[in-house]
Amino acid sequence: MTENGIGAAVRRKEDHRFITGQGQYTDDINRPNQLYAHIIRSPLPHARIRGIELKAALDMPGVVAVLTGKDMVDDGIGGLPCGWGVNNKDGSPMTEPGHPPLAADTVRYVGDQVAVVLADKRSIARDAAELVDIDYEELPAAASLSAASAEAAPAVWEEAPDNVCFDWEIGDAAATDEAFASAAHVSSIDIVNSRLIPNAIEPRVAIGEYDSGRDEYTLYTTSQNPHVIRMLMGAFVLSIPEHKLRIIAPDVGGGFGSKICHYAEEAIVTWASKRVNRPVKWTADRSESFMSDAHGRDHISHAELALSKDGDFLGLRVRTKANLGAYLSTFGPAVPTYLYATLLAGTYKTPAIYCEVKGMFTHSVPVDSYRGAGRPEACYLLERLVDRAARETGIDPLEIRRRNFIPRDGFPYQTPVLLEYDSGDYHACLDKCLELADYKGFEKRRAESAERGKLRGVGLSTYIEACGIAPSNVAGALGARAGLYESGTIRVNPTGSVTVLTGSHSHGQGHETTFAQLVTEALGVDFDNVDVVHGDTGKIPFGMGTYGSRSLAVGGMALMAALEKIKTKSRKIAAHLLEASEDDVEFVDGQLRVAGTDRTVSFGDVALAAYVPHNYPLDVLEPGLDETAFYDPKNWTFPAGCHICEVEIDPDTGVVEIDRFTAADDFGRIINPMIVEGQVHGGLTQGIGQALYEQCVYDDSGQLLTGSYMDYCMPKADNLPNFEVTTNTTLCTHNVLGVKGCGEAGTIGSTPAVINAVVDALSELGVNDVPIPATPERVWDAIRTAAHNRAVSA
């Protein structure tokens, strides 16, 4: 290992600009002569637009234009496309309604975009918006899954009268039925996976700029994947050829999936900038973020597990309804299907699994990826169900898991739900986690808590996730409408420094550091002489961006492939300079050496020779040292691990306090352990947030009740314990570094660990379920209800 190479906890390159206030986030950018856009949003969940009166707003000094959905229709603007098609059980395609960036005739959720005011000042745009008079004919609405699936529920779309977008299945129904027929015991559970709002602390921003001289557009936007936005917006919405459209996603203040989607505002400002021939800037207020950023989760499921008399899992049957919101977001349909049900095997060798998922339209914000995206939903359901089965059969929760784990020597393991796991050691992760959590000492701590009148519980979960999604052809067969490779360029500059261009996008993950470590390790170039460029389609090769914990496992592998090309070419150049055979030249600590001799040339001299090719094999080799590679993954990667949570509950108030939280994760090879640990901390916090604090709530009329940080409870510094985290590594078998990905794991395993601990603490009172978030009120209520039931049955 070199000092700043693979495995070193290198301090981050990007930090200097952030700790000194020099970061450049999208809202920090201002273009000369720019206008400010204010989006007028529907205050109603469902209504027909009868008319819009603009005059008063247009008369206001400083207002330049007010544009509506009708203007977009007149300009031939297309709808926001959906990037993943899902088929029904009978093979027919899902219902895929249009998604106009500005609604022209009907609004379908509170927050739906209706018009945009452009003015010289933000405050003028906002004030003028108050003067736009929109005549709505209010229609009945159904924002929740239960309301939308009720009999005679109002339809979000005429073409889907029952609000079902798709009715999809995976697995072998007959084999699963057979497993249940032979079961000694069946455990079942009803699970509501609550709706969440991603809440990156940086609100979304979009600035459109049109250059009439060159007929070119630039969009600055808070995106995790600028090329994806260019492709979707250019090709489907605005009909701008890609060479005329540049997307810049500079420093981005967190994404968590919410900044994957192509949003209406991006198209609106880009389109408007040409109409008024001035740059147009839109910055979301936090209240707008709540009602316009894609939401996450929101499932209702019924799940059953068939067990043998010894506690072997024989079959799993799951029925899920998933809320898609009013429109199909970019990857909305993929999340509750291919990113969810394919993970239902978990870490277990359950031989038969069948799952059906109904994707439902509702009058709510479109639902899409939120950290983990489908995988937390699968893990929460499975790990709650396994705990329940353990309780019902009297088998220890550790024992029932160990019994059913895919064994160490069971890899590669083909699950009954599509995926083939390449590697893992679930026993080792579990053992390591138990040790670190001092699981053995739990009963003693429980007794101490009881002495203080508190209820202590312990809960665990084991999780698996699928990252770095798929070979492109497999994803395509499953409905993906894009490739899922990544690009990377290693540009060696003439004096030997290196510029890395990557299609991955960093919005907190620290790629500028991790990727530089790969280069330092491979070429021996000083860490400070490596810079990583990302987030600008004008600078980087076509890339797919960052989501699904794919940056290292896919983007990093593209860089590894490009580095390999650089090394090969460097060896050829060195062979010429050293008058040796190429096969004899080896890379050693930033030098190229003729093996077995002391004849060396530095990598810097090789670079110089490549760009100043005076002594160079020009007849057989091009000058320059600049290589690009595209990497398409051979399989998903499968990070896995174990989380253990210990809670203490005050039975008088229902307040749950997390006393200990331990995670043991298998991420494959780790490049920067400091960054990995940070990713785990953040992920755990979001999973704990779902377990105890956060929830998006619509009322029965379809109004969003949790519209600000006053109503949506974000985890704060004093809500959380210190986490104990460790890793247990098995290498991924199908990429050269053996890396798996670490971005989402924390969020996936933690929610069930917390709730299993809460249920454990309350089980002596007769409680066997607590909904998420387990707020004090709900816990208190569960305690009272159980006491009441005991009294009644006594």
């Binding site: 301090r11 981050r12 990007e14 930090d15 200097h16 600009r17 952030f18 700790i19 000194t20 206030g21 020099q22 970061g23 450049q24 986030y25 809202d27 920090d28 201002n30 405050s123 809440n199 990156a200 602390i201 940086e202 609100p203 420093d251 981005v252 203040g253 967190g254 968590f256 910055t283 207020d285 936090r286 209240s287 919005h507 907190g508 993950q509 620290g510 400091m674 960054i675 640990e677 940070g678 990713q679 901390h681 953040g682 992920g683 755990l684 916090t685 979001q686 600000s708 940080y709 006053m710 974000m714 985890p715 704060k716 510094a717 004093d718 959380l720 210190n722 986490f723 924390g746």
Partner: protein, 156 residues
């Protein structure tokens, strides 16, 4: 109605024309071009906008620009002196107290005020102090470690 507001920003006199409803954070970002102070919410909860006014931490989205007339205002841009990082900034980097960096200026400004009042804060005191600063990335653990380390470095 537009008004001229003048104050000292990171030791330099500044002034700008603002509306009577302009927030201090808007003046700092939009008129004075110091974009290190961020806006993360519209209900005074996230703390991304924390700055110092007359030596105390303040949410600059919760003050009108006109209220800062004549004040001594400090932002993240003024924390490093002569190109040398402040120990608190060093600590955030050393302990990986930031990921996306969006909450970071507010966190650092808030932490500096804490340490000024309580030079040796305990972990619990730090956690309680920071409830007005939201971070979605870090889970706070490394922020807390950074603040402790920063406080220690400031004492020595």
């Amino acid at each position: 109605m537009s008004i001229t507001v003048s104050f000292t920003l990171n030791g330099e006199p500044v002034s700008a024309e603002v509306d009577n409803h302009t927030l201090l954070v808007e003046m700092i970002r939009d008129q004075l071009g110091r974009t290190g102070t961020h806006i993360g919410c519209d209900t005074s909860q996230c703390g991304a906008c924390v700055i110092h006014v007359d030596g105390r931490s303040v949410k600059s989205c919760t003050m009108l620009a006109v209220q800062a007339e004549g004040a001594d205002v400090g932002t993240i841009e003024g924390v490093a002196l002569n190109g040398k990082l402040h120990p608190m900034q060093e600590a955030f980097r050393e302990y990986h107290g930031l990921q996306c960096g969006f909450c970071t200026p507010g966190m650092i400004m808030s932490a500096l005020d804490l340490v000024q009042q309580n030079p040796d804060p305990s972990e619990q005191e730090i956690r309680q102090w920071l409830v007005g600063n939201l971070c979605r990335c870090t889970g706070y653990q490394n922020i807390v470690r950074a603040v402790r380390a920063g406080a220690q470095a400031m004492r020595s």
